[in-house]
């Protein structure tokens, strides 16, 4: 198992704000996160939690009314928060970090052939021209699983199905030959059978080109399938981060509990699905204390008063909740979360025994990924025994 002690990209105390009609929206609040080479990191959170804004910061693609207030993003010896103009970003956008957008129906230009759109990236980042560029386009198309590339390259996006278009979008990203691939909800717009294919394709590309991938998603099923590490975001901050096993089997933050509880796969047939009461806080106002406290039935007094810091659970796992503070009263997670913990115990122990870093490039689908996904994708029938929920 490879160990990566040096992060590839390192975000420190990032604060990002938008000005909207005279009001200030605090979109990212003190985000700190390391991304290690070769890993798959999943950023999970509900809509509006700031996950898209966060990855757009890495590429300078946020709307012009947004600005970095403080913090840094160290990448390749540069601080990305200091980049302003397009020419500043030239060496990063596309060339080192590429992005696959959410909706393949709208993320391709409808008026250009897909060959043209891929060639644009090939010309920019591989420095090829004419027939050579065309050849590169065909080979990329073949690589992402599009047959008859020479005929398909001359077609327009509307002649492709959703899954095929997403393959094209991935082809464009891969044509850039990036080091980091950001996938912003890569499967949300696709039907389930296609989702698996697309995730498989991304993973295949990751292996082949030794990519580091960052997934943004609200679909925990996707996360369980692909992620080595998970960062859970809520109200513009990271509330919990850890390896896939740690977050799935030993979640510490009440929001993570709630998130896992709302998985239909963990529910009991015939019972209403769990949903989190209330709504996320309004980020136009400064949040006091723990942002999740008002929605947390088991919130402590201090949660309303003081914002919790990041507490380390293990070297790889930390959460922003007072529950981890030694002085805190013991609050047990919901029973089905305890049951999950029971099942994950062995895995987590094994991880701890092997040192700090479980996340690595070694066949994630066989170890971490598969174990986590087995738990999440378990059918109701067999899940019943372990998820007696109150």
């Amino acid at each position: 198992m490879k160990k990566h002690t040096e992060p590839l990209l390192s975000v420190r105390d990032l604060n990002f704000k938008f000005t909207l009609r005279g009001q200030v929206l605090h979109a990212l609040r003190d985000i700190s996160l390391d991304v290690y080479p070769g890993e798959s990191l999943a950023i999970v959170g509900e809509s509006g939690s700031g996950k898209s804004v966060f990855v757009k910061c890495l590429m300078g693609l946020n709307d012009l009314n947004g600005y970095v207030e403080s913090g840094s993003i160290e990448y390749g010896g540069k601080d990305l928060t200091l980049l302003k103009t397009d020419s500043d970003w030239k060496d990063i956008r596309g060339s080192r970090i590429a992005m696959v957008l959410q909706d393949p129906m709208t993320s391709l230009n409808p008026l250009k052939t897909i060959g043209w759109q891929i060639e644009e990236a090939v010309r920019l980042h591989q420095g090829l021209k004419g027939a050579e560029a065309k050849k590169a386009v065909y080979s990329i198309l073949e690589e992402v699983g599009i047959s008859e590339p020479e005929r398909r390259a001359k077609q327009y996006p509307h002649e492709f199905s959703g899954g095929m278009r997403q393959r094209v979008v991935i082809a464009i990203a891969m044509a850039c030959r990036p080091e980091i691939l950001i996938c912003d909800e890569p499967t949300t717009a696709l039907d389930v059978t296609i989702q698996a294919q697309i995730l498989g394709l991304i993973r295949q590309m990751q292996k082949k080109y030794n990519l580091t991938t960052i997934y943004i998603t609200h679909d925990l099923g996707v996360v369980a399938n692909v992620a080595d590490r998970i960062a859970v975001m809520y109200a513009g901050e990271i509330v919990e981060v850890g390896t896939s096993d740690e977050v799935f089997y030993d979640p510490r933050h009440p929001y993570t509990w709630a998130l896992l509880s709302s998985l239909p796969q963990l529910g009991v047939k015939g019972e209403p699905l769990y949903s989190i009461e209330g709504t996320p806080p309004n980020l136009f106002h400064e949040v006091k204390g723990d942002a999740f406290a008002p929605r947390n039935p088991k919130a402590l007094k201090i949660d309303y008063v003081k914002r919790p810091p990041m507490f380390a659970v293990t070297a790889t796992h930390s959460a922003r909740t007072w529950l981890i503070d030694p002085r805190a009263p013991k609050v047990d997670p919901p029973e089905h979360i305890l049951a999950l913990r029971e099942r994950g115990k062995d895995l987590v122990a094994k991880a701890a025994a092997e040192g700090t870093a479980l996340y690595g490039a070694s066949a994630p689908e066989e170890e971490t990924g598969a174990a986590a996904s087995a738990a999440v994708n378990e059918e109701n029938g067999s899940a019943k025994g372990v998820t007696a929920r109150g």
Partner: protein, 313 residues
């Protein structure tokens, strides 16, 4: 593509026929009878009957209609103007180029001004130039063109004596009418361009293009501009008939002997043959412009091209 064009042409011809039928029935729907107009109010019954017979007004309606159509199609004969007692075609022939010159010049100048302005407004949304351009053009569009024409004439022709008041002999006569036409169409084109470009700027594929590493210039030219140009090109063709009808009044104010001028006079004089001919010509022009815009759309937008051709290119 060929099938598409043929289909559009056939539809256009059918449409022109429908309009021609309506236009021809106008004579029978409106008060007054062409014979009495020609003969004058005090004419005797015998005289009226003679005129009716001479011009064929006593024949059945459909016979008259098809005779009218046949003459137009094969002899370019739109009948006789009741007022001038001259062939209608001869009257119109000299006026079409004048009206077309005016409208085409207006169209070109208006788009040369409005399209770049619209693009700048979209790109620099909410900037001073955006507010200024949109606000001013909106106010100017709300001003009726005949009033604007009169004011322009008063200021520039009568008071400042920069241009002649009326007439059509030199190019300087055309300045004020064209300015009037340009101003009244400006706002809609600016707004159309702006909203198209803003939609294009918001598209996901623009983010894809930035994420690819294209520079702002590259994104704007290759992705935003190209995509918003479709509607602008289509709009160009659709504006032409509007402008022609808009000039019906402006031509009158400036005394320019175009089709609009003739039309107003003919309506006043109940000169049906002339009115019919002009309506028919404007209709045909409208239909032709629509077909042209459809073809341009088909050429510029592959989604439509394929929808209509089933993929042959």
């Amino acid at each position: 593509m060929k099938d598409y064009v043929i289909k559009k042409l056939l539809l256009g011809v059918a449409l022109i026929f429908c309009v021609s039928f309506l236009v021809f029935s106008m004579i029978y729907m409106m008060p007054g009878d062409p014979a009495s107009i020609m003969a004058g109010q005090l004419s005797s019954r015998e005289n009226l009957e003679a005129i009716r017979h001479e011009y064929g007004f006593d024949r059945p309606f459909l016979v008259q209609y098809f005779d009218w159509i046949r003459k137009i199609l094969f002899e370019r004969d739109f009948g006789i103007s009741y007022k001038y007692r001259l062939p209608v075609w001869g009257l119109i022939k000299t006026r079409i180029p004048i009206s077309l010159k005016l409208t085409v010049a207006t169209l070109i100048i208006e788009n040369l001004v409005a399209v770049p302005l619209g693009l700048i407004c979209a790109y620099k949304k909410d900037s001073l130039i955006d507010r200024l351009a949109v606000g001013t053009s909106l106010v100017l569009t709300a001003v009726p063109s005949f009033w604007l024409a009169a004011i322009l004439m008063l200021v520039f022709a009568v008071n400042l004596k920069l241009v002649p008041v009326a007439g059509f002999e030199s190019w300087r006569n055309y300045i004020l009418p064209i300015v009037t036409g340009v101003v009244s169409g400006l706002a809609s084109t600016i707004r159309l361009t702006k909203s198209e470009a803003m939609d294009a700027l918001r598209e996901k594929y623009v983010i894809t293009a930035y994420a690819k590493g294209l520079t702002k210039r590259g994104v704007l030219v290759k992705h935003v501009l190209r995509n918003s140009l479709i509607i602008i090109a289509v709009n160009l063709f659709l504006q032409l008939p509007w402008l022609i009808s808009g000039y019906i009044i402006i031509e009158n104010v400036f005394g320019i002997p175009g089709m609009g001028n003739l039309m107003v006079n003919s309506i006043v004089e109940q000169d049906f043959n002339v009115i019919q001919a002009i309506i028919l010509i404007i209709t045909t022009l409208t239909v032709v412009c629509n077909i042209l815009s459809d073809i341009v759309l088909g050429i510029l937008d592959p989604r439509i091209r394929i929808a209509v051709t089933g993929g042959d290119r």
